[in-house]
Symmetry: C2
DNA sequence: GTCTATAGGCGGATAGAC
DNA sequence: GTCTATCCGCCTATAGAC
């Protein structure tokens, strides 16, 4: 009985927490992260504002929860898209890359305010805690995974790397993907940033009166990005450089 | 005398307007655009809040003025950088491209909050009027100009263009640069968005714990972007495709 | 866990005197 | 153009009863 009672309480707590976050997301859309207000959330939920403090000790904690949720939601979308194009084993790294990029764009279009929360301007006065890091890196890990598979499967050409950038590329590779050549990791990080540049420009209105058929434009652009990191179509065969990972 | 009096008044008005905008920019840094408050600006300036309404009829008008100023400031930085590398006539399109990109990045690092205002998440509830368009397109026009010169001077290789994208590319070219091949215009628009992706990621903290030597990394990445739009070093000579503009 | 009440602020915008 | 006064709203956060 004791455990049942606790179970009920725990479940109620989870449900109320979810309701608070849902309402907060609604307000994010209406007013933006900077004006997210515990009071307004409480009002909409028919609670006293002070009651919310039992769930989130401060406005910033609520914001952190929303940020982590958003990163996780986007990360899951990317992982799902990748898995779907992984089924045939040899779907081709370029296709998988494109599928993940398009999933990122689709998620952003479907959740513009959450996208703005995580990839838009920082919320003034809010300092993200370390807790957000694992969720924040999920999309990056998906992209790394695709390139890693291509590297093992010869679907990869090594981009060029000027001497000036080599130390930084080596450092990044050690941190992010020790099994990949530094050339590739440097190109990958650039492509990652550029991908979000494309998405952000569409979402934040910079493409208004410039790009009309955004879907086609985006598809083409991310294909170029894939090319930039060295991904090649497997049927077109050979990699541009001789080196290959030892784990064959 | 009449005209002198008007001149004095006009000058005073300009000075007060500038003071208001300066203080507003300070607040932008502290609180963000969403919380920009006429009252707070007035307080800092020692004026009654109602007095500000003689200068800016609403908070949004002040915001619009700040946005236009920011676009103009950035545009001027880009134009200056381009002009500096234009002097030797044949500085090379890749160098000019890189100089402009680096000027954009430098401006962004020097004015992070103004950058967030124009390229970050939109301010909730604020709708930018058409007035911002000319200022907003200055950087784009600089990039177009570099590519146009390269096209005239044979420093340009035509990127590939899939059939799917051709109609949109033709439309964009007609709008933005009728004298350039659609292939190039499409690649240019993508590079433009990707440039700001790189800058935004650095500025908004996505490169924290990922990229350390940002300057070198950025320089390399924008070199790749130049390559993507078909810019080539003049001494390396020949363009990849046969077509050339007729205005030789 | 939820409530009311309270402290001590903040905001946009307008009216009307000077 | 600037002021005071005003309307009417908003906020974070805490205290203490139930």
């Amino acid at each position: 009985m004791n455990s049942t009672a606790q179970g009920v309480r725990a479940r109620a707590r989870i449900e109320v927490t979810a309701a608070i976050k849902d309402e907060a997301r609604r307000q994010l859309a209406a007013e933006g992260a900077a004006k997210l207000s515990l009071r307004a959330v409480a009002r909409a939920l028919g609670m006293a504002s002070s009651a919310l403090y039992r769930y989130f000790p401060s406005r910033d904690d609520l914001l952190t929860a929303l940020i982590i949720d958003a990163y996780d939601s986007l990360g899951e979308a990317a992982e799902t898209a990748e898995a779907a194009h992984d089924a045939g084993a040899e779907a081709g790294p370029v296709r998988r890359w494109a599928a993940v990029c398009e999933a990122v764009r689709a998620w952003a279009l479907a959740h513009p305010h959450e996208y703005a929360l995580i990839y838009g301007s920082p919320v003034p006065g809010y300092q993200a805690p370390e807790d957000t890091l694992p969720a924040a890196s999920r999309v990056g890990h998906v992209l790394i995974g695709i390139v890693r598979d291509a590297h093992r499967g010869l679907g990869l050409a090594k981009p060029r790397l000027p001497a000036e950038l080599r130390p930084e590329a080596v450092r990044m590779a050690a941190d992010l993907a020790p099994d990949l050549p530094p050339e590739v990791v440097a190109a990958l990080v650039a492509a990652w940033a550029q991908l979000f540049g494309l998405v952000g420009f569409e979402l934040f209105g910079q493409f208004n009166r410039v790009v009309e058929d955004r879907e086609v434009f985006f598809r083409h652009a991310v294909g170029q990005l894939a090319h930039g990191v060295g991904l090649v179509y497997p049927q077109k065969g050979r990699a541009g450089a001789g080196e290959t990972a030892g784990e064959g």
